[in-house]
Symmetry: C2
């Protein structure tokens, strides 16, 4: 599942890329996902670009909308963050 | 690992209990963990009681200080949140 996610460097960007990867894998546009999760249509793009240190509840809401477990979403995140 | 965590009801409280469980399992006091993660000594108590919708970066910092992966920390969180 990590082919999308390159050297993202910090948790916010890496988590953003993980969300992007899960969204694309499930065939949603950013707007469709935002709508499904009850967010403004631009919110998903902001998260995916790592521009926002989102809250744990919003993270949970996005994961539920993507029908991915938080555990799966965060798999390997430490490795991605700490890659040189 | 879920014996500590009862009917917590919402993501913030369930995640707080998961942190508490991991901290106790590793033998830290709240102050020791806060110090290790670089937070004010009362922050860990606030998180564990589910009083704060913490950011994903602070969640990551606490998990690293506990030497637990985010994936392990969040294992089963959906089940806990959605228990009746």
């Amino acid at each position: 599942m990590n082919s999308f996610v390159e050297n993202c460097g910090d948790p916010i960007r890496c988590i953003g890329q993980k969300f992007r990867q899960a969204r694309i894998t499930r065939g949603y546009t950013q707007e469709e996902l935002a709508d499904k999760a009850g967010f403004h249509r631009t919110y998903v793009g902001v998260v995916e670009r790592g521009e926002k240190n989102i809250s744990i509840v919003n993270c949970y809401r996005l994961a539920r909308a993507l029908e991915i477990s938080m555990s799966e979403l965060f798999t390997g995140i430490e490795y991605l963050v700490e890659q040189e």
